[in-house]
């Protein structure tokens, strides 16, 4: 069964209509990044490189995407077809706003892989080495990854035609009462871990996911003082998936890209940084003062452009009502 390699870099776009099939790649390096495909390029609107039928993570792209010229900061632009992928750091420098179009809810099927930084407070010394070693071991894990958590998918799985979990869409359909953990423990752990993240030990770990990335990361918001620091940290974390190569130990190698070129590339991307706040709403990062952001941010998501529609206005309305 090819489950494991199928999972390596398959992800589903929210608006994609075809399933994603990756050519199974065997090496860590290959699965980390399809090198050519990750190379950022600027292209003219409507043009599409013929070889770039697959996205960063081996995903088939829609052929009918509008392509932004990469320099626009409009939140309403659609996905660029293949030519550009980048961790989009299209920060409007003057007010530190992230200006990305936003995906509503990521339905990226994240393959399992990351060894995440410890959620424990005060263990910064731990989290850094873990971050460094995340990529390669994660990829190795990915190679051995079990099948999708969704029980319906595999034809060979002799599941009964039960309707508890049948035909779930890409969104993870949780099976009732599974895994078999007592409700009490479930509720306690949920609050326990949340408390651990937020307690007086002074960290505020939130998950960061990026559409198309095979695994999540966690960052401690308390270690940054403003949006710029956060964005550069995220950029470092996720650039592995966007530009250049990963070296054998998993660290991104800039390969001659200067910082300014990096920023150009990032500016050109159509990714958007968003966060989920305490009310469960998805907001653009950068709209509110930094303190308010860290107090209300539950998780971060680097999203693709097309579903940003409507988000910016909502964010502003919310901000108004909060004020």
């Amino acid at each position: 069964m090819e489950r494991s390699s199928d999972k390596i870099s398959s992800s589903s776009s929210s608006s994609s209509t075809h399933p994603i099939e990756d050519k199974p790649s065997k090496t860590a390096k290959d699965t980390c990044l399809n090198l050519k495909e990750t190379e950022l390029r600027l292209g003219l609107p409507g043009s599409q490189s013929p070889e770039r039928k697959v996205s960063l993570f081996g995903k088939d792209l829609e052929s009918n995407n509008d392509k932004s010229n990469g320099l626009s900061v409009s939140p309403l632009k659609n996905l660029v077809s293949g030519a550009k992928r980048g961790f989009s750091d299209a920060i409007d420098g003057s007010n530190g706003k992230w200006v990305f179009p936003i995906n509503g809810k990521s339905d990226v099927e994240l393959a399992k892989g990351a060894a995440l930084p410890s959620p424990r407070g005060g263990l910064d010394s731990k989290s850094n080495p873990q971050q460094a070693r995340v990529s390669v071991p994660a990829m190795k894990e990915v190679a051995g990854i079990p099948q999708s958590p969704k029980p319906v998918q595999d034809k060979k799985n002799p599941l009964p035609p039960s309707n508890d979990h049948a035909t779930a869409p890409a969104a993870k359909a949780q099976v009732v009462g599974w895994p078999p953990i007592r409700s009490f423990r479930k509720n306690t752990m949920a609050s326990n871990l949340a408390k651990n993240s937020e307690d007086a030990a002074g960290c505020l770990y939130v998950k960061v996911s990026m559409d198309g990335a095979p695994y999540l990361r966690k960052v401690d918001l308390k270690t940054y003082k403003n949006y710029m620091e956060l964005s550069s940290a995220l950029e470092k974390m996720f650039s592995c998936f966007t530009i250049g190569q990963c070296s054998s130990n998993g660290l991104p190698v800039r390969d001659g890209l200067s910082e300014s070129r990096l920023m150009d590339l990032l500016h050109g991307s159509e990714y958007v940084l968003t966060y989920e706040d305490k009310d469960g709403d998805w907001m653009l990062v950068g709209d509110v003062p930094w303190e308010m952001f860290t107090n209300s941010c539950k998780r971060l998501r680097i999203m693709k452009g097309s579903e940003a529609i409507g988000l910016a206005p909502r964010a502003m309305e919310k901000c108004k009502s909060q004020n």
């Binding site: 994240l110 990351a114 263990l123 099948q147 029980p151 009964p160 949780q174 326990n192």
Partner: protein, 609 residues
Amino acid sequence: MESSELKGGKDSQISDELSELRMESSELKKAKDSPISDESNRRSSFPDEVLERVISLLNSHRDRSSVSLVCKDWYNMERWSRTHIFIGNCYSVSPEIVARRFPKIRSLTLKGKPRFSDFNLVPQNWGADVHAWLVVFAAKYPFLEELRLKRMTISDASLEFLALSFPNFKALSLLSCDGFSTNGLAAIATHCKNLTELDIHENDIDDKGGGWLSCFPESFTSLEVLNFANMTSDINFDALERLISRCKSVRVLKVNRSISLEQLQRLLANAPQLTELGTGSFTQELAQRQYEELESAFNNCKNIHTLSGLWEVKGLYLPALYPVSTHLTFLNLSYAVLQSDELAKLLVHCPQLRRLWVLDTVEDKGLEAVGSNCPLLEELRVFPADPFDEEIVHGVTEAGFVAVSYGCPRLHYVLYFCRQMTNAAVATVVQNCPDFTHFRLCIMTPGQPDYLTNEPMDEAFGAVVKTCTKLQRLSVSGYLTDLTFEYIGTYAKNLETLSVAFAGSSDWGMQCVLGGCPKLRKLEIRDCPFGNAALLSGLEKYESMRSLWMSACNVTMNGCRLLAREMPRLNVEVMKEEGSDDDGRADKVYVYRSIAGQRRDAPSSVLTL
């Protein structure tokens, strides 16, 4: 907290009930109420006084059941001397029948809902309300001392009724129960002057505040066991401190998260005789002097053998536990988010450990430390910290399981939640530890195969049942075909409890189990392709079992009706979903033997056929 007390371990109560019913309906009805009869005096080989004395020394329910079947006299002798009754299914018998047979009960253990109610598979108002029992017992057993409930519903009114009706009441234990609030606990604290034990564990309690603890009167000194670890509200610490100081016999104290380290130290200073301790939050910022005081307090507690709690634990302070660690036999870290090195450092100091519960945040490396440091380990439970978050992959794998098995040959109880497993690893584990009595493996993704070979996990469980001849309880998971169940039916001759989910290929699998496991008592199945043929193949079997649960399988209403018709001494209950049609699939089926007949308190969503 371990629920071994409630499990009883030997609970064939109902089989006695059934046979006694038959006996009762014949000449035994005429048996005299007095334990001594002239006829039996002539027949028995030794005086009744001796017999009575011998029987009264029997504690095991199974032994008592066997004794009661020997003859009329022994039956009577036994029933007059039984003081503790264990009822594994509250609907298998009625309180009136119990009271009629056993006149001198002082302690009652009752279990109610099917186990899958713990996982939200049973509707809220399903039943298992204890009140009817309390009413009968208030009349028949006014001297009742102990009540232990598991998966029952108990209201505040019932708690108050309990507190007021039984002046000699001593011990209340509620595990996985619901229906009550802290007001009920306040009633217990206020009125039970002789209370020795209050054990409130992992319930769905409406926590309205910690004031209940302050309801113990100042004159109250008899407390020995206090467990409120799983309650969330703050309690009045002064009241607790005073309570512990004046109750000199306190031996078990499990506090909740609201108790800080500093407060814990003060409690320990007042109760050095403790044998079981559940700490509160283990993460306060302590000054050096405070830390030393804490360490010293632990040092004075020479008798602590069971430790739990450690909510929000700060690894830095774990060394304060070292004085206590050397004597520990049971360490429950299942709510403590520890990393592998923190656990490893602690375990170096726990050579006597017999039972260990941990979170999978300790990962395989932590389990390697278990294997290296705890050679006497008999029980290991590894709980998932983030079970529902599929995006997070850490936790334990087959490697950790194997590592433990190499270091802990005495392991006989395992509960292991993981995200990947292999047949080879399980085979290795049971080869190293052939004495498993309880093997509960949960591969958290339903229907997941051996992740290395992509084969079904049949051979893993085959190895378990072939090698572990003493196996009593088995929970299977992963991608399993009927072959697993063939193995189980063929080899698991001591199996009593089997839990199955997302497994099997056809009716044949379930038929193998029903046809092959002579000691099977509890069978719970969900999301498997077993249908009416499988269900009905167990017709003869179900009367020798406590219960059968099948949900999200292929059983139909007609199949259930047939079962109910053929086996009148079984209660066949179907839980219906809203708006489902009557002749279609029976989504949740619960079958159990009973001498009490159909229950009358079923809600409308539960159909007894």
